[in-house]
Symmetry: none
């Protein structure tokens, strides 16, 4: 029996095992699930050991990491697989059609918290490894697996873990399946992610809330001022107006522009998904360019003054907002935090105290959009899905990818088997059975394809 | 015992009764306090009846009015006293040194929500009436009392109430104590008030919160847009930039400018009271001109997106803010609401839905700054405080004063016993015990002084 036949034969068993995995309520954000997290990690470790990947549980400052290895030969390339066994909180429960930690099949879908993010996607690789070890087929690569338990609560301890275990994690390439295809039946290989900078701005005027009748018009109103500051962060072309913000931005290449144009994207369909009245973005760029290859600035939250019912004629003491900026390659998250601080302090009037709290962030990540790794990934996806993949970028950020590049010097192949409407982080999270199958066969093909790169 | 001796003798009792009054959480803006409002009105009615002012509760479309009369002779002048038994919401509770509805004495102050605005000030007149009725002293005026329960939420039903009860409310002059002295130990008679317009602006983008990585930069962010709108409401000279906003504004007269200059005001002292780093207001006007005689615009509250700890990379579905504008004589509150709506709709981009909820307001009020009523008020204040009062204007609004002029044709004497740093509308609202006493004796003297005007 060859590995492919093994997968064919064990279709139901692979699914049953995934259901076992999905039953652990491994919610990393909630301390009440600490023991569930540990039980889930133990189970996963046992699964790896059972298929010949020697594994152990390694402590971190928070939830533990499951780490395993199968070293076949020093001549083989080494692939480090990253994934996570923790999940988002399932709330609000009343919006679920099923019970989040009792997986069911509904139509073409596996319905459970973690189905697509990330247990289901991770499982495709685990079962591809097994297809080799269980059939005594020669495994042409060295495998390392690094499965963390804190991805959904910010991967707080992972950077240190990676730094402290640099030697152990040495590899040639990293594979992550924790994202989405471009569309239904349009698989994709992702070659870039945006980075992130996070700041909070607090404007303080009077030392307490004042009566707007007795003081309005003579003392600066922190909400008026914060609004004025936010209003000046973009210019009339919806470009970010912060001095020097674009200094390090790598302009979109002609190659990228052409690739994006080829994609089966229409603004009309995209807009429909959002429910917004019209598109809105930086002048001179298409929608895909705006979300994948251009930096952006969003106020994620704002508060100040009276938020209750009716009117309260107050001149509030303070107002604050939270801002994240999505970054593109070459922008430095700390530099961007410094630039927004400098700009805001420049435009804020002296009649208020203005504080900018800089929380740093993570740089954008790029994998070269050409070269043997990407070619190999493309061929594997084509084998698994029977469809030629497209090469895309992603507007969001996966901080650990930046860490891998920075600490280990490694590129990451982002091979998402999910869909953007899989309800990751929402009620009724799901994973298409067909995507689970095709992802598993792609993971299998990937092993041989990556092995060829070195050859 | 004469009325003055009665006040002397009952000092503690007057205070104890005020504490009873302050214990009602009669917050008119919040529907959860509907029953507290009713209980407070009942209590007040009983207090009036107990001192011989025949009173009843009269329904309105909203919270009820307490109305009472004591008619002594058709030959006496009739004084209509207006006040309000409702209070501002107490939030934010964590900034209070005490519990808002459990009044305490701290140093020289009564500390409680409503202490100065308006329960404490109202109480000075009630106790002045009692000093006559309890001592069987001949009351030289006819008394009418109109105490409403919606002043802090815009007096929405009072105008109709006044119109429907014109005959009942017939009087010669109106007295209101719901404002501040000019300064510590500088009592004042107020001859003008600003008006008010209230709107809420809601900006809606996508039909739900979106991931700012997947959509940021291509879909309008409602907070970004609302900030931009707020930022455009003032120009660089801090003038309001709404088209036509100043069309009907009556410019400050030379007389007013001169009177204001005479007052014992220094910007330094004024600024110190607020704790703000610097003054901030319309170019070309002094502080007193800005707050008394120029229209202003304050955002009183703003909300949208994620307000919790840390970052949440959301592109929020909506953002909203509450805006009140203070008006000067000749500006029409509804016209101003229409003008801001038109302006906001003009500058809002088509990529969001922008709604302006217009809640109307009240016009500015002016009482002639000469004549026998003002002279009588001045003499009464001098008797009660032992200090010659100054004649001033007030930046706040008492909507009903405009209604009284319009519907009943009556001028209003504004005799404030509070201080501008009494924290009306803020945490730790307070009322100086000494002002409470001197206000009560002034209220007593006012009865005799007003009686003389007719004579």
């Amino acid at each position: 029996m060859n590995p492919k036949e093994f997968l064919d034969k064990n279709k139901q068993k692979r699914l049953d095992q995934l259901f076992e995995f999905l039953k652990f309520p491994s919610v990393s954000a909630k301390s009440e699930h600490k023991q569930d997290i540990v039980r889930c990690a133990e189970w996963l470790k046992d699964q790896f050991n059972a298929i010949g990947i020697e594994s152990k549980i390694m402590p971190t400052g928070g939830h533990p990491v499951v780490y395993g290895e199968k070293i076949t030969s020093p001549d083989n390339i080494t692939v480090l697989y990253y994934g996570h066994y923790d999940v988002q909180p399932p709330e609000p429960l009343e919006l679920w059609k099923s019970t989040p930690f009792e997986p069911i099949i509904e139509g073409d879908y596996i319905l459970a918290r973690g189905a697509t993010d990330d247990k289901g996607q991770l499982w495709t690789h685990v079962k591809a490894f097994e297809a080799y070890t269980a059939t005594d087929t020669r495994l042409p690569i060295n495998i390392k697996v690094l499965i963390e338990g804190e991805e959904e609560s910010g991967s707080e301890n992972l950077e240190r873990f990676v730094k402290e275990n640099k030697d152990m994690l040495k590899a040639d390439i990293i594979v992550v399946s924790d994202s989405a295809q471009f569309d239904k039946n349009q698989p994709a290989v992702t070659f870039g992610l945006r980075g992130l900078s996070f700041v909070e701005i607090k404007v303080t005027g009077p030392d307490r809330d004042l009566h707007s009748g007795s003081f309005g018009g003579s003392i600066a109103n922190p909400i008026n001022i914060l609004g004025r500051i936010i209003g000046q962060l973009h210019d009339d072309d919806n470009r970010i107006a912060i001095d020097g913000f674009y200094d390090d931005v790598v302009e979109i290449t002609d190659f990228e522009r052409e690739e994006f144009k080829k994609l089966p994207h229409t603004d009309k369909e995209y807009l429909k998904k959002t429910g917004a009245p019209a598109l809105h973005g930086e002048k001179g760029y298409s929608t895909l360019e705006r979300i994948w290859s251009r930096p952006t600035l969003d106020v994620n939250g704002i508060m100040g003054g009276y938020q209750g019912e009716g009117a309260k004629t107050v001149l509030p003491s303070w107002a604050m907002c939270k801002i994240t900026m999505r970054l593109v390659p070459n922008q430095d998250p700390n530099d961007i935090c410094n630039k927004i601080e400098k700009f805001v302090q420049k435009i804020a009037p002296k009649s208020v105290k203005c504080e900018v709290f800089k929380h740093g962030g993570s740089p954008a990540a790029v994998v070269s959009n050409e070269g043997p790794w990407l070619d190999a990934a493309g061929r594997a996806v084509k084998t698994g899905f029977g469809i030629e993949p497209v090469f895309v970028k992603e507007g969001g950020s996966i901080p650990v990818v930046g860490t891998f590049k920075e600490v280990l010097g490694l590129d990451t192949l982002l091979l998402g088997w999910g869909q953007s409407d899989d309800n990751a982080h929402s009620p009724n999270e799901r994973f298409d059975l067909n995507d689970f199958e095709r992802g598993t066969y792609s993971a299998l093909a990937l092993i041989e394809e990556l092995a060829k790169v070195k050859a």
